[in-house]
C-alpha cells in the first residue's frame, strides 16, 4: 500500500495551499485584465498585453529575481508594504503564492480573454435594451457565458502553480514546511545522494495530482455545457 511520508504530505498540502491562493487571488484581476484586453482600446494596451505575457517568455528565474527586487524588504514595493503594513512575503508561502500567480497569470488571462472575445456582443446589447445596467449585463449575461473559459483558465493556472519551480526558488527559497512545494521537494531529493526512490514517489504524486485536476475540470465543463443546453 502506497502511504505518504509526513514530509510528502506536508509538501502536497503546501503545494495545494499555494496553488489555491495563487489562483483565488489572481482570478478577479485575471478576469478584469482579460476583459480590458478583449474589449477596450486604450493607450498602452500593447504594453499591458506584453507585460501580462512576459512570464511566459522570460526564464522563470528572471521573474523570481524581479519579484525579489520589487517585493523584498528593500524592494520598491516590499519596503513600502513592510513599513506601512508590516507585511513581508519574502521567504514565506505567501511569497510562493505570489510567484505562482505571476507565472500562471498569462495562461489564465489568455483562456478568459478568448472566451470573452467569443461572446456575442448582440446578447449584451439585448440585455441593455431590456433595462439592465452595464454591471448587471456583465454579471447576468457575460459572466455566465464565459464560465467555461474561466474554468479552463483556472485549471491551467492551478496546474501551472502546482508545477512552479524557478521563480519560487529564486524568490522565496526552499524552506521545508514554508516554501518547499512538490517541485522543490523533488528537486531536493534529486540533489540528495540516494534520494532516487523518494524522488520517484514525488513524481508519482505530482502526476496523480495533475491528472486529478484535469479530470475534475473535464467533468465540470461537461456539466456546464449540458446546463447551457448544448448550444454554444
Amino acid at each position: 500500500m502506497f502511504s505518504l511520508f509526513p514530509a510528502e504530505i506536508e509538501a502536497v498540502l503546501l503545494s495545494l495551499q499555494v496553488a489555491f491562493w495563487s489562483v483565488g487571488l489572481s482570478l478577479p484581476f485575471g478576469i478584469a485584465v482579460a476583459w480590458l484586453l478583449a474589449r477596450k482600446n486604450f493607450p498602452g494596451r500593447m504594453l499591458v498585453d506584453g507585460l501580462v505575457h512576459l512570464p511566459l517568455v522570460v526564464p522563470p528565474v528572471v521573474v523570481g529575481y524581479l519579484l525579489l527586487v520589487l517585493l523584498g524588504r528593500q524592494g520598491v514595493i516590499g519596503a513600502w508594504l513592510y513599513d506601512w503594513f508590516g507585511i513581508s512575503v519574502i521567504f514565506t508561502w505567501k511569497g510562493a503564492a505570489v510567484a505562482s500567480a505571476v507565472m500562471a497569470f498569462p495562461l489564465m488571462v489568455r483562456a478568459i480573454r478568448q472566451s470573452i472575445e467569443a461572446v456575442d456582443r448582440g446578447l449584451e446589447d439585448a440585455a441593455a435594451t431590456l433595462g439592465a445596467p452595464p454591471l448587471q449585463v456583465f454579471g447576468t449575461i457575460t459572466l455566465p457565458l464565459i464560465t467555461p473559459g474561466i474554468l479552463t483558465g483556472v485549471i491551467l493556472a492551478f496546474a501551472r502553480s502546482l508545477g512552479e519551480f524557478g521563480a519560487t526558488i529564486t524568490f522565496v527559497s526552499n524552506i521545508p514546511g514554508e516554501t518547499r512545494t512538490l517541485p522543490l521537494a523533488l528537486f531536493t531529493q534529486v540533489q540528495t545522494p540516494g534520494g532516487e526512490n523518494n524522488a520517484l514517489r514525488l513524481v508519482i504524486i505530482s502526476v496523480v495530482l495533475a491528472l486529478a485536476a484535469l479530470i475534475i475540470s473535464e467533468l465540470l465543463s461537461r456539466r456546464l455545457v449540458r446546463r447551457q443546453g448544448g448550444d454554444a
Binding site: 446589447d125 449575461i141 457565458l145 443546453g229
Partner: protein, 363 residues
C-alpha cells in the same frame, strides 16, 4: 408622438432622417435592404450614437445633441426585437421572458407574464432552452421578452425575415394581437410590403438614409412619387374597405369602399369588418368604354389624375375612382388610347387577382 431626428455619417452613406411615429399602433419603417432602416432604430435604442439629432418619446427626451442629453440604452425604455431573436442561451424561456422585469420602474402599466404567454401562445415552451426552439418559437419568445420589460416604444427589426412563409403567416396575427391589445407603440422595420400593409397604419419610407415619404399607408401607397414604393413590382394602391357579404354560391366576398364595391375571390369575413385591400397596379387594366360581357367582376369608372413617366416599356397611371387606384400599363397602350390626365376611363380588376396576402385588418 415619437419624434425622431437623426444625422449620422455611416461608411456607405449619410443618415439624415426626420419623422414622427404615431403614439399607438404600428409605424412601419420601410425601405430596401441597406437603406438605413436598421441604423435608424439602432440610434433610437441607443446602440448607435448619432452625430446630431433629437429623439423624443411622448414627453421624454431620450437624446438631444444640443442639450447634451444622451440616455444610456438601459434607461431609454425602448424594447427591441432583433432580427435573429438574441435569446440568452444560458437561460430557459421563462427566465428569458422575465429578464427585463428585474429592471423596470415600479410604477406604470404592468403587463403580466400570463397575459404575454397567452397572447403569443408560448405557454408550452417555458421550461425549454432557446437552443431547442424553432425559429418561429424563438421570435415569439423574443417579442414576449421585449414586451415584458414594459417599454414605452417597441422596435422590431424585420422580426420575420429569418422565417419561411408558413411560419411568418403564423406570427403575423400574434403581432396584430400585441398591437391591438397592449397599446405599446411599435416601430416595425421591414422591406416586405405584404407585412407593412397587413400590420401598419402609419409608414415612413427610407431611401439612402433619408425619408422619402411619410404618412398613412393608404396615402403613401397611392402616390407615384415615392419611388421606393412605386418602383416595386408589387406597387399598387391600398384601399380601406368594409366587408359586406359573402356569396356562398360562387365563393366570393364583397367589400364596400369609397369607389364602390369590390368582389374578392374566396374571401370570408364578418360583415362590418374593416379590411385593407392591396390592389397591385399590374392587376389593373383600363378601357375607354364601359366593358360589357367581361369576365372581370370589378369595374370602376374614374378619371386619370396623374401619369408617372419612366424610361421603361410601362407607365404608372393614378386614377380617381372615388378612391385612388394605380394602373400599370404599357407605354404602347397609353399611346394608342391617348391616355392623359383628365381622361375618363374604366378600370378593371380581376376578383382573383386579390389574394389573401394582399389583405390586412385595420382597427
Amino acid at each position: 408622438m415619437i419624434d425622431v431626428q437623426l444625422q449620422r455619417q455611416l461608411p456607405d452613406f449619410t443618415l439624415d432622417a426626420a419623422f414622427t411615429g404615431s403614439a399607438d399602433g404600428i409605424t412601419a419603417i420601410f425601405g430596401r435592404s441597406g437603406a438605413g432602416k436598421s441604423s435608424i432604430i439602432n440610434a433610437i435604442a441607443g446602440l448607435l450614437p448619432p452625430d446630431h439629432g433629437r429623439i423624443r418619446i411622448g414627453d421624454r427626451l431620450i437624446y438631444d445633441s444640443n442639450a447634451k442629453i444622451n440616455l444610456p440604452v438601459h434607461q431609454r425604455r425602448v424594447g427591441y426585437v432583433f432580427q435573429e431573436g438574441r435569446l440568452f442561451p444560458h437561460l430557459n424561456v421563462q427566465r428569458n421572458l422575465l429578464y427585463g422585469t428585474n429592471f423596470g420602474p415600479a410604477n406604470g402599466h404592468i403587463i403580466e407574464m400570463d397575459e404575454v404567454v397567452r397572447l403569443l401562445e408560448i405557454g408550452h415552451l417555458l421550461d425549454r432552452r432557446p437552443g431547442t426552439l424553432s425559429g418561429g418559437e424563438k421570435q415569439r419568445v423574443a417579442i414576449g421578452r421585449a414586451i415584458l420589460s414594459r417599454p414605452e416604444l417597441l422596435l422590431m427589426d424585420e422580426p420575420l425575415s429569418s422565417l419561411d412563409g408558413s411560419l411568418r403567416a403564423g406570427i403575423l396575427p400574434l403581432i396584430e394581437r400585441v398591437r391591438d391589445e397592449l397599446g405599446i407603440p411599435i416601430f416595425y422595420v421591414s422591406h416586405t410590403l405584404e407585412e407593412v400593409i397587413r400590420l401598419a397604419d402609419h409608414m415612413v419610407v427610407i431611401e439612402n438614409g433619408a425619408v422619402a415619404g411619410e404618412g398613412s399607408v393608404a396615402d403613401l401607397m397611392s402616390r407615384l412619387d415615392v419611388t421606393p414604393l412605386s418602383d416595386l413590382p408589387d406597387a399598387g394602391a391600398v384601399i380601406d374597405a368594409v366587408y359586406q357579404k359573402y356569396d356562398s354560391q360562387f365563393d366570393l366576398g364583397e367589400l364596400e369602399f369609397a369607389g364602390g364595391s369590390i368582389r374578392i375571390a374566396g374571401l370570408q369575413s364578418a360583415p362590418g369588418a374593416a379590411l385593407r385591400a392591396h390592389i397591385r397596379a399590374r392587376d389593373v387594366s383600363l378601357m375607354l368604354d364601359r366593358p360589357i360581357d367581361t369576365s372581370v367582376l370589378n369595374v370602376f369608372a374614374g378619371t386619370i389624375t396623374d401619369i408617372r413617366d419612366t424610361d421603361g416599356p410601362q407607365l404608372d397611371l393614378l386614377l380617381d375612382v372615388g378612391a385612388p387606384l394605380i394602373a400599370r400599363i404599357t407605354r404602347k397602350s397609353v399611346h394608342e388610347l391617348a391616355l392623359a390626365p383628365g381622361k375618363q376611363v374604366y378600370a378593371l380588376v380581376k376578383a382573383v387577382a386579390i389574394d389573401r396576402r394582399s389583405l390586412g385588418g385595420s382597427e
